[in-house]
Assembly symmetry: C2
Homo-oligomer: 229 residues x 2
């Protein structure tokens, strides 16, 4: 490895405070991991996300990932057992990034809070714009039955599901929604709608419906269904 490359690695490691997140302290072969190694691991993850976007989940190759960061295939195995292992690590990142989304659901919405609902939908769309490839890959793997990816998906969905269900319950109690609806199913339906529609957005734009209108519509439906407003 060239001197320049080593310098770059050192710079990139600046962004992560040493070993804070769920990052492992030892490599797959038992070596202890220093800052340089941590930076390499990060670069491999970033490359994986990049190629996920470029090639799609079906065509991501371990060899391509390492080539993308200018490393040997053997290096990959220092940090991950296989590509799924790297995808799981990336999934942890997006779980973490969903915390902000969850926080926007902390205070129950009322019929006066349509602005807050719009704000939430805006953040939700931005979240998918930023993490789309990883989220999609995670969901595909989950849908294919892989329990590890199912768990990652749950980690983001359940907190949101709980908050929304609580809001529905409150709205029903306040007489703004019929009491014979199922709060959890309603919340799940809203999350399903949000999650699925993001992948339809381009198709809709082609059909003459702007992204703005789609977002506004989502917010409206969510607002009405959850608050009864």
């Amino acid at each position: 490895m060239s001197k320049q490359q080593a310098d770059e690695s050192a710079n990139e490691s600046a962004d992560s405070g040493a070993g804070e997140r769920g990052e492992p302290a030892i490599a797959t072969d038992g070596r202890t991991i220093g800052p340089r190694a941590r930076a390499t691991r990060r670069r491999l993850l970033d490359a994986t996300a990049r190629l996920l976007e470029r090639d799609g989940l079906f065509d991501v190759r371990l060899v391509d990932i390492t080539q993308d960061v200018g490393a040997s295939p053997a290096t990959f195995y220092q940090y991950f057992t296989d590509i799924d292992d790297a995808l799981l690590a990336l999934s942890d990142d997006v779980v973490e990034a969903s915390a902000e989304l969850v926080s926007l659901l902390a205070n129950a919405w009322t019929p006066d809070d349509e602005d807050q609902v719009r704000d939430f939908v805006g953040h939700y769309v931005a979240y998918w714009d930023e993490h789309g490839p990883v989220l999609r890959a995670r969901n595909l793997k989950a849908e294919e039955g892989d329990e590890r990816f199912r768990e990652k998906r749950r980690e983001t969905q359940v907190p949101m599901l709980r908050s929304l269900a609580a809001m529905v319950r409150a709205s029903a109690k306040a007489g703004r929604l019929s009491t014979d609806i199922d709060p959890v199913a309603t919340a799940a339906a809203m999350l399903a709608m949000l999650e699925r529609l993001v992948s339809y957005r381009q198709g809709l734009e082609l059909r003459g419906t702007s992204a703005k209108a789609t977002e506004a519509t989502l917010a409206r439906i969510l607002f009405q269904t959850v608050t009864g407003g």
Copy 2:
């Protein structure tokens, strides 16, 4: 490649003839297809769907498909250029099966028609129960950017989208819905909700929400959002 080979490979399978449905009249190597061959082709498709369910899209192997019907790998190539080709054929089947679903949307719903909405949701769920593996595979491929599968998805979605959007428009005109909503985006949101929630159903059942309650909730949301009732 021999001259003969070059000639033959010019006539790809697909739609180059008049079978009963969308079935080709000639095989990939130019032979004309009789009833026996058509049956073999069907058995290969059924096996593909079966293994799709058992192994998942990532792990479907051409060799396994042919073994499942007791045939040689070479037989597969008589009828399909590759697995994707077979998946596209299966996708045509589910497009065809969606006609009944579309017909249930032919007459615009009014606030008196909640029963019809429930009926539609029931059929929708049944449709996914029957064709889930193929629908999922088609959607995954579409989401991964394959234009051929995108087209198949559109073929089922667009008619439903049109019908629902028309209903929303009518409800708005009748003053039952706000006129500032976007009919197409609203219709798309409803379809997104339906499509996505089917894959969550098991998860919801584990969380104590019955399939019946989920179905009823979907129908309720759809009913209110589309008819304004």
